[in-house]
């Protein structure tokens, strides 16, 4: 690593932590107010058995908040970055298969979700956003040590 990169790396880590952590916390908090809708969003992907989809709809928002809190505070960054990246990969796969199968759904990423009018789907932008977030998680896995984290 060059000297400039060495100086930038801890700050990049901080930025990745705050962006990925902030997005995850926002995504979780926005779902918690309407968990029935969150469960509906998961069901609409038509990937999982109904009971499992409902369970995921109720529990996923809390997991998102948990990972987000770890990232923002800077505890277990390597682990949280990895889990965050895996979560994003799962979202990318879920959205892609919905697109490929011709389903018309809202990703339900930040609340909302369920079947929508075919003209209102925005799969491409949802996938691009999640790829970006996944990249942040991968970066944190390899460079977990940054500024203003609890882990020194």
């Amino acid at each position: 690593m060059g000297d400039k990169l060495k100086i930038a790396q801890p700050w990049l880590t901080l930025i990745c932590r705050l962006v990925l952590g902030g997005v995850l916390i926002a995504a979780g908090v926005l779902k918690i107010g309407n968990l029935q809708k969150s469960a509906m969003a998961v069901r609409a992907y038509e990937l999982l058995p109904i009971s499992l989809a409902n369970f995921l709809g109720y529990s996923l928002p809390w997991v998102e908040i948990g990972i987000g809190l770890l990232l923002v505070t800077g505890a277990l960054v390597r682990f949280a970055g990895l889990v965050g990246a895996i979560t994003m990969l799962a979202f990318i796969i879920a959205i892609s298969q919905a697109w490929a199968r011709g389903l018309s759904i809202d990703c339900g990423c930040f609340g909302g979700g369920g079947t929508i009018d075919p003209s209102q789907t925005k799969y491409l932008s949802e996938i691009i956003r999640d790829i970006g977030l996944m990249a942040l998680g991968i970066y944190l896995y390899f460079y977990p040590k940054g500024r203003f984290g609890i882990e020194k």
Binding site: Q36, R43, I50, I65, L69, L70, A75, I150
Partner: protein, 224 residues
């Protein structure tokens, strides 16, 4: 890591423990609070076996399920396009029709669902159903359905009994709306409106917005 001291490590472990606690308690709370409860008061026409829906013509066949939200514009459109025919089917007992008022859009959906359940107890479900859609605000949870709004909607269809007023004011069936939502989740309802005949979804892209196709779909489903 070389500069680590025990204080930092203690803080880190405390943060991890607190986050784990929040996640575990949150998940448990969410699972427990999103279960149906058969102890809640339900309208007389409600059947637990029919997903806690309001049942009209319980002994007729086939069975038509209508999953709706009184704040949903597409549900209003469906009612205005197909409601007249559906009400004819109900009046002539050509089908068992089960209405499931869902509340995903928020607090004013709960207010409306409670009110229509109160109306069902007064044998005024069909009129109240239509009156609520006609009274739908142009935006969600606008404040329009707060306060005495439901009494005014009831009044517009001649529903002025003390029992109705008390039922609305007490929010007698508010908790029941939670049971309806949980049951709709188990029935894999992912959008409103959703119309099913004997468990089979009508095609939302063609049969909801066209009265001729809707009627044909009902006929194909066994409505004579």
């Amino acid at each position: 890591m070389a500069t680590n001291n025990s204080g930092d490590k203690g803080t880190r472990n405390l943060v991890i423990a607190m986050v784990a606690f929040i996640v575990v308690v949150g998940v448990i709370f969410s699972l427990v609070s999103n279960r149906s409860n058969s102890n809640y008061a339900v309208p007389a026409t409600v059947s637990e076996a029919d997903g806690y829906g309001i049942v009209l013509n319980p002994t007729s066949t086939p069975k038509i399920d209508v999953y709706l939200d009184y704040q949903c514009p597409a549900c209003r459109a469906f009612e205005l396009i197909n409601g007249e025919y559906l009400n004819e089917v109900i009046a002539q007992k050509k089908a068992k029709v089960v209405f499931h008022p869902l509340t995903f859009i928020g607090p004013e959906s709960i207010i409306a669902a409670n009110a229509v359940a109160c109306a069902a107890d007064e044998n005024k479900f069909v009129d109240m159903n239509l009156a609520l859609y006609k009274n739908q605000a142009s935006s969600e949870n606008s404040g329009k359905w707060q306060g005495d709004a439901m009494l005014a909607v009831g009044d517009s269809i001649g529903l002025r009994s003390d029992s109705f007023k008390k039922c609305v004011a007490d929010g007698k069936y508010v908790k029941w709306t939670g049971n309806v939502s949980v049951a709709s989740g188990k029935a894999n309802i992912n959008s409103t409106p959703t119309i099913r005949i004997d468990g089979k979804d009508l095609d939302r892209n063609t049969e909801y917005g066209d009265p001729v196709k809707f009627k044909a779909a009902l006929t194909a489903g066994g409505v004579k």
